[in-house]
Symmetry: C2
Subunit: 327 residues, 2 copies
């Protein structure tokens, strides 16, 4: 009999969230540990093992786990390695898949968080049944997971889908953490919106704004959202600006893979019409005529509290195949 459960583990900069998930996408049980607690990766995996084993015990799930899926920054599906651990406390490269697999005696597949989100959406979410879609995660940065012909696009090296780093401004673009200028994520992430707020406040010194009562260096995208909801013109213009650039980017992505849908996920994606109206208008205006009106713009339907674990867990169903590729 095939095993009825998978485990999903989402390794974030602050928390590592994990859970046991069934084939219908129900999170049977979940828990978390602090990612930063251990300077040593082995100690971290020991704690993960202790805490996850508790969940497995309580839910009588021993020998019922088909695989473990892990979403983590810069995690490579093909190699099982985290190559360059942004925000993670351990020296890289980390052979994460092998370490976790040896500890648990269960096949493990890993990929980056945005790809995990796409797999989650395809398995349990709004992209169920779609063979071609693009997932865009609007968080601290902009991530992406691309599905073509029903398969994740990993590229020849496992690192495909870095759409947060297409260049949107080729002249005087904002400095990006990647060392280049003008990347999409410098504009359309949560931090990008905060940067826009500082730019707008400085560029329009005589315009009143609710945001002026805040310390300019600590304004967040949430502050901009709250001000826009309260009717603040400058804050609303920031969402116009953000939606416009994101729409230009999505129109370009469509020329590449002609997806059935683009699925948005993450804090910014929940800004409602403040973002979605200018975004849709810009996407429609910029889309090549052959694709116009064909591509759905959807919001993730996964509960945010479950989404990270669900996405990673969906990868667990193919953990055996991934482990075979790594051999």
């Amino acid at each position: 009999m095939s095993k009825p459960y998978v485990v999903g583990i989402d390794i974030g900069g602050t928390n590592t969230v994990f859970g046991i998930v069934d084939a219908r996408g129900t999170v049977i049980a979940s828990s978390s540990i602090k990612t930063q607690k251990h300077a040593n990766i082995e100690d971290y995996i020991d704690e993960l093992h202790v805490e996850l084993t508790k969940l497995i015990d309580v839910n009588d799930a021993h020998d019922k786990i088909a695989g473990i899926g892990i979403g983590a920054p810069n995690a490579n599906y093909f190699t099982g390695i985290i190559s360059d651990g942004v925000n993670l406390p351990w020296p890289t490269p980390i052979p994460l898949a092998d370490l976790v697999s040896e500890k648990f005696g269960i096949p493990v597949a890993i990929t980056n968080d945005a790809n995990a989100a796409a797999i989650g959406e395809m398995t349990y979410g709004v992209a169920r049944g779609m063979k071609d879609f693009i997932m865009i995660t609007l968080g601290t940065g902009v991530g992406s997971g691309i599905v073509v012909n029903g398969q994740m696009v990993y590229g020849h090296d496992g690192f495909a889908g870095e759409l947060g780093h297409v260049i949107m401004k080729r002249n005087n673009g904002r400095m990006c953490g990647c060392g280049r200028c003008g990347c999409l994520e410098t504009y359309c992430s949560a931090t990008g919106v905060a940067r826009s707020a500082r730019e707008f406040l400085e560029a329009r010194p005589n315009e009143p704004s609710l945001l002026r009562s805040l310390d300019i260096d600590s304004i967040t995208s949430k502050d901009v959202y709250d001000a826009a909801v309260a009717g603040d013109k400058l804050a609303k213009d920031i969402f116009e600006f953000t939606g416009n650039i994101l729409g230009e980017a999505l129109a370009d992505f469509i020329t590449f893979s002609s997806p059935e849908a683009i699925v948005l996920f993450g804090g910014l994606a929940k800004s409602g019409d403040l973002l979605m109206r200018p975004l849709k208008e810009s996407m429609d205006r910029n889309t090549l005529s052959v694709f116009k009106g064909k591509v759905k713009l959807l919001l993730s339907e996964l509960k945010e509290s479950d989404a990270a674990v669900l996405g990673a867990s969906a990868l667990g169903w193919e953990a055996k195949a991934a482990a075979d590729i790594r051999k």
Copy 2:
């Protein structure tokens, strides 16, 4: 026994070239007819049938053709239809796959010319054995064919891979035939290079150039090439300009699908170091660090006289599968 041959048909604006090809990519025989001769698509297919049947007779290939592959502008693999026949003399939509299949009694698959080129390169050319690559055709326009996980990227509607229409200049970009401004193909196609020549000549009125002896409105990319080869500074700068923009575009494409290689095809791709040096420099400079130095920039190895027929013919091997999809 499986049939040993396929037929490739390349429908261009001026000529329709067709040939019989074996499994090793040898063009056994080929011929051509004038695309524009018949105002009626049925008459055109009748002539194609007569001429192709002659080839089949001479080569004793009756009952040995596994399938017919056709490359044509805006031809859709999924529907078998040419939806919007740029430069073709017949009213659209044209149910081309069915018309040809009924006439010959052989399964037919169609796709656009750039996709056919990519399939040809994957089957017989420099991309043999590659599972992830991008084909860029630098002709009158800029076309593209994208291969991911060993499969053509057709997208949900069959129209994926319009990379000639990503926007490279968002402000004051050149008008494109697609109705938008700043598309890659307005800069990096043969016509784009000719436009650059006119812009450069007008923007630098005091700089001598061999190109000034020509009628400015009829300068071609070949004229610019010849002048550059003769050492003309302005002409060389046009290739710098062209290579720089193309490199920026390729760097963005890499973030999408992380291909093993980008394969260039078409007249402009044969400009040698005039184009390739600035192109490589720009691609390297603009590529995200995780992909840097990993992506090969290759030139098509297919003989230009055979390439169109070979590309289309490669699709013939999967004509039966394509016909099944259309049913």
